[in-house]
């Protein structure tokens, strides 16, 4: 663990250097705040407007979390169905890939037209960006079940159900988690986009308010908040993975 921390110092130094140069350049060149605020201004603004900002933040967290949970549930179910019923996989999987080329920013306004400004269209947007990485990863995981293990299980008399629950599902866990990590970061982005296109609160709304008031510093506060949330979600998934997929980390020692 301390090794991990030690390893982290380099990027941290680069990051601090980056902010330092940014600060200096903004100050020396006298760049106006509406064009590019200095990091110090952004931090100040973040602290100063925390009261009004936090409501938006929590709203996004709530939306992102629920969308994420629904999205990954659908993603996992889809993967299981596609894997277990080959006919469905062959006829539907290519279309799922196609569905990922539907531009969300174009679709989102249509969703609002169809489903209004409530939770439904937002959840659909987040689900749409969330479910696919999980489906692909889980399907990959299922498919890549070591053939020798599968052969052993079948020779040992495992039923189809036993094969799935005792072998294929646990075997796919690491792969599923790498899908979940991607989905987790996407869910925040999805939440912001869906809020941006119509909502009462959330980082997306905060950003709109900020940019129409020419408060570039607040736009940056929102950008950093989004990055932080993405990292947070990512971290939480890694934590859960550590707890659930323990046999691997032991092996890696």
């Amino acid at each position: 663990m301390s090794g991990r921390l030690l390893k982290g110092w380099r990027p941290l130094v680069v990051l601090i250097l980056f902010f330092f140069i940014w600060e200096i350049v903004v100050k020396k060149a006298g760049i106006p705040a509406w064009l590019l605020p200095a990091p110090s201004q952004i931090i100040q603004e973040g602290i100063a407007s925390w009261a009004s900002f936090s409501a938006h933040l929590f709203s996004t967290i709530k939306l992102g979390t629920s969308g994420f949970l629904i999205g990954i549930t659908i993603g996992l179910l889809t993967a299981a169905i596609l894997y277990l019923i080959p006919v469905v996989r062959e006829s539907v999987y290519p279309l799922l890939i196609l569905s990922q080329n539907v531009p969300v920013i174009v679709l989102a306004p249509l969703l609002v037209i169809w489903f209004g400004f409530g939770m439904l269209p937002k959840i659909i947007v987040i689900t749409l960006v969330c479910f696919f990485p999980v489906t692909v990863a889980a399907l990959d995981g299922f498919k890549q079940t070591a053939p020798d293990l599968k052969h052993y299980m079948r020779m040992a008399g495992a039923t189809r159900g036993q094969l799935f629950w005792k072998l294929e599902l646990p075997h796919a866990l690491p792969s599923i988690f790498s899908g979940l990590k991607i989905s987790a970061t996407y869910s925040i982005m999805g939440a912001v986009i869906s809020e941006w296109l119509g909502a009462k609160a959330g980082l997306g709304v905060y950003m709109t308010l900020a940019s129409s008031a020419f408060r570039t510093d607040r736009v940056f506060v929102a950008i950093f908040a989004i990055m932080f949330l993405s990292l947070l979600f990512f971290g939480i998934i890694i934590l859960i993975e550590k707890l659930l997929v323990r046999w691997q980390s032991k092996g890696a020692k």
């Binding site: 052969h151 052993y152 079948r154 020779m155």
Partner: protein, 246 residues
């Protein structure tokens, strides 16, 4: 008494005949090895016995019962240890029982202890060496309740020295339990060292071309390898194999 009887079994893949009118019998408590050229259909034969392939014709009888395409009637140990990485040694050993019914944890622990893996009972497979994994895999097969154990080249992935160790270990465990075993190997010395009978298969399509009864008395010790009698048997079977391959 015959535990396994294979009667006139044939199997084709697409247009290729892999096994042709094969007849074979394994008796209670016997250790039978199958030797045959690569690709002759030995693993295919095991899949047929295991029930995951269906013979095109003929019958596979286990203790008088026809088990064509019936899975779960035999116990199996493959070439790779095939341990589930997310299960501890104990959980892995219990797997084969779990699939078929109630688990006997007590006996499993006992066997693991006896195999010298007591310290690793709650370890994950990744923490074990290749030889240790194969021990676990063999214990798993032994603990499975079925009357016949199939072993498909269990040691061929191990290095020379570990392999010798494992042969001795397997023999010691087996001589205590005397379960009925059908054993595939490429290694003539291994077959001679372990078996009561050695069956030579022809190359594709597989037929039985020879069936040797190996008379070395049990328990057998490592020194057997270096005895002249052993070399003579080796010579004889070796010439037979060469003949088959031409």
């Amino acid at each position: 008494m015959a535990v396994l009887t294979i009667e006139d079994v044939s199997k084709k893949f697409a247009e290729t005949e892999i096994i042709k009118h094969l007849n074979l019998q394994v008796n209670e408590g016997e250790f039978v090895s199958i030797l045959g050229p690569s690709g002759s259909g030995k693993s295919t034969l095991f899949s047929l016995i295991g029930g995951i392939l269906t013979p095109d014709s003929g019958a596979i009888m286990l203790q008088g019962e026809k088990i064509n395409s019936k899975t779960g009637s035999i116990s199996y140990m493959p070439q790779s240890p095939s341990l589930l990485p997310w299960r501890t040694v104990l959980q892995n050993v219990l797997l084969s029982q779990e699939l078929r019914g109630p688990k006997d944890e007590k006996k499993a622990e006992e066997m693991i202890e006896k195999a010298g893996l007591g310290a690793y009972i709650h370890a994950y497979p990744d923490e074990l060496s290749g030889g240790m994994k194969q021990r676990v895999s063999f214990i798993r097969a032994l603990l499975s309740p079925q009357p016949l154990i199939l072993l498909d080249e269990p040691f061929s992935a191990l290095d020379e020295l570990t392999r010798l160790d494992m042969q001795k270990w397997l023999l010691s465990i087996w001589e205590e339990n005397r379960r009925t075993v059908l054993f595939i190997t490429h290694n003539l010395e291994e077959a001679l060292f372990l078996s009561d009978r050695i069956i030579i298969l022809s190359s594709k399509p597989a037929e039985v071309v020879a069936d040797y009864k190996i008379p070395f008395k049990r328990p057998r010790a490592e020194e057997l390898f270096l005895e002249n009698e052993f070399l003579e048997w080796k010579r004889e079977i070796y010439h037979k194999i060469k003949e088959v391959m031409e």
